[in-house]
């Protein structure tokens, strides 16, 4: 159980899952390393949840194979797999107390009562819910239920924990707290986490690595920085963060070639229209059409000379809302480093 183990925790080998005509998962190949916090990111219907369910055993591949620590588990039922799941709706057993819920995995394994109780109480301490064991799930808040679900899934010390949008039902503030807490917990228990979410911010915050899903396929796998700074496809550029996509004639006007590229709004500087452009920079002229003041930063929508639009974000270091609004209608030159023009492959 060491991180140097060369066998991946999970391996997808050309996995397909079709529901009739619908190809929910359409040829996924992926290795998740032992001890990683790995995120499946994608919009709903992109196949990320189906992939998670196939790891758990709730669903089986139409073709292809899934390995857990080197063993082919494609045909094993969930109760014979050494993985546990935190469900989106928590799936707490309504007729059991919190303690019985947490201890369930041990109860099924016929562990002795004292051991069950002791372990379940340890788990409740771990998720910072000490002393709530006697309550019923219906007497808990959403955040508390989430923690109980986590404790229940961790009690069997699985080598892989699957989390299916576990924070989706919580409000923003609680969600942000739990993001930090989950990440800390994962480092504490040292097991592989597979985390499914459609929230790109969440994915970037928590993951060691992530896979971006679209239409049943993986578009890109990489660290958060790689995914954000170097999106491989138009889809990734558009789905992760705000991105400017430039294509066709406009792209040729800027780069000199006809390749579609993306550039992040915060990488662009706004200069006077006649400012000199240094070497190693891309640039284009335009007119500020819209100014949206967002407190921490301001977003400018700039109409380009050759047609098209770019969004530019500028931190409000010294400016105030008064200043930024006078910018509307001004002619400007937009400048950014050539390395920030990410040429894209793949289809939209």
């Amino acid at each position: 159980m060491s991180n140097q183990n060369p066998t991946p925790a999970i391996r997808f080998e050309n996995v397909h899952r079709h529901f009739g005509e619908v190809k929910a998962v359409d040829g996924v190949n992926l290795d998740v390393l032992d001890g990683e916090f790995f995120t499946f990111l994608g919009p709903s219907g992109s196949g990320k949840t189906t992939c998670l369910r196939m790891v758990a055993g709730f669903d089986r591949p139409t073709s292809g194979r899934i390995f857990l620590h080197g063993d082919d588990v494609s045909e094993l039922p969930p109760y014979e797999r050494d993985v546990n799941t935190v469900f989106q709706d928590y799936a707490l057993f309504p007729h059991m107390t919190v303690l019985d819920n947490v201890a369930y995995g041990l109860t099924v394994r016929k562990a002795a009562r004292e051991q069950r109780t002791r372990r379940a109480e340890e788990m409740l301490d771990l998720v910072r819910l000490p002393g709530l064991g006697k309550r019923k799930p219906s007497q808990l808040s959403g955040g508390q239920r989430q923690r109980v679900a986590l404790a229940r899934a961790l009690i069997l010390r699985p080598r892989v924990l699957l989390l299916d949008e576990p924070l989706g039902a919580l409000d923003l503030k609680l969600r942000q707290e739990m993001q930090v807490e989950l990440k800390a917990l994962q480092e504490q228990v040292g097991i592989t986490f597979i985390y499914v979410t459609h929230d790109q911010e969440e994915a970037l915050t928590m993951s060691d690595r992530l896979a971006v899903f679209s239409h049943g396929r993986i578009e890109q796998v990489g660290s958060p920085a790689e995914i954000y700074e170097s999106p491989a496809t138009e889809f990734v550029a558009g789905f992760v963060g705000i991105s400017n996509l430039v294509r066709g004639d406009v792209a040729r006007g800027i780069l000199g070639t006809d390749t579609t590229f993306s550039v992040r709004p915060e990488k662009i500087h706004i200069l006077e229209p006649d400012a000199a452009v240094q070497g190693g920079m891309d640039s284009v002229r335009g007119r500020i059409e819209e100014v949206i003041y967002l407190g921490m930063y301001t977003r400018f929508e700039v109409a380009l000379e050759g047609g098209g639009k770019l969004t530019v974000a500028q931190q409000n270091l010294e400016t105030s809302s008064m200043d930024v609004h006078t910018a509307r209608g001004r002619e400007v030159r937009l400048v950014w480093e050539k390395s920030h023009s990410r040429k894209l492959g793949g289809q939209a």
């Binding site: 709730f58 469900f87 709706d89 707490l92 369930y104």
Partner: protein, 274 residues
């Protein structure tokens, strides 16, 4: 100004509606009270009102009647076994229909409903004609078969309603934590649907205990309690005893109904309309 703060949403009903509602409630309930009254009458031959006198004598007489005990025993055994069969079949069908979407789901719900949706004589004469055609002699079991058939839908409705409000993920969670299909059924599904089964079973028992139309066609010489009462209705021989039996039946049937009602109040789903 009213002294207590009133719900501003609460409206007062126009008097014709209140009156109509009150009369309807009285109409529905007062015959039940008549039963209570007549159980104590001293009148042996007619149903004279006002009662000529009150007595407890007929309770004792009814208690000593062997034929009544036999009829009651038969009714309880029939209802008990019909309920068990209905619990089994209704739960299986509900589980199948709730778990997966398959072709013919609607048809199955409809088929289960038919025995109580169609006029009672249809079910009765159909079973009667089938028993006749295949030379199956009437017996305890022919009664049970008929009763179980129309009780299934009661259990089915209750269990389907429970499953509909249940997220399938608790079953997945159980399997995820190491419980196989049987363990999951025993530890999660069964406790979870237990009250729905109890309510459905109670109602099925009540329905069977009281059934007379289908029973008339499937009973042969056997006499259930409703058959006994029916014979007294058409050819009255033991009026005072019948009065006592009627009271007894009202009281005994209130038990499962009140129980089912309590469950429905708590869970908010039991199908009390039939």
């Amino acid at each position: 100004m009213p002294s207590k703060p009133r719900d501003p949403q609460a409206e007062r009903a126009p008097w014709p509606i209140s009156l109509g509602a009150l009369l309807a409630v009285l109409f529905i309930n007062f015959p039940i009270f008549i039963i209570f009254l007549y159980a104590f009458t001293t009148d042996e031959q007619t149903f004279t009102f006002p009662l000529p006198g009150m007595t407890l004598k007929w309770f004792g007489v009814a208690w000593g009647r062997e034929d009544l005990w036999a009829a009651l025993g038969l009714s309880v055994r029939v209802a008990g076994i019909a309920t068990l069969v209905a619990l089994l079949l209704g739960t299986l069908a509900a589980a199948a229909v709730s778990r997966t979407k398959f072709f013919g789901r609607e048809a199955i719900s409809f088929m289960l409903l038919l025995p109580i949706a169609l006029p009672g004589i249809v079910t009765g004469i159909a079973l009667r004609s089938a028993f006749g055609l295949f030379d199956i002699p009437f017996s305890f079991w022919t009664i049970v078969i008929g009763h179980a058939t129309f009780c299934v839908v009661i259990v089915y409705n209750n269990v389907v309603a429970r499953f509909r409000r249940t997220s399938w993920s608790i079953v997945e969670a159980s399997m995820d934590l190491g419980a196989n299909g049987w363990e999951t059924f025993k530890r999660i599904i069964l406790p979870h649907i237990a009250t729905a089964l109890l309510a459905g079973g109670m109602l099925a028992f009540a329905l069977s205990f009281d059934e007379v139309i289908v029973t008339t066609f499937t009973a042969g010489q056997e006499s259930t309690l409703p058959i006994w009462i029916f014979s007294q209705l058409t050819r009255p021989r033991d009026r005072p005893v019948t009065n006592v039996v009627a009271l007894f039946v009202v009281l005994i049937m209130a038990i499962p109904i009140l129980l089912a009602y309590r469950i429905s109040q708590r869970d908010g789903e039991t199908q009390l309309s039939r």
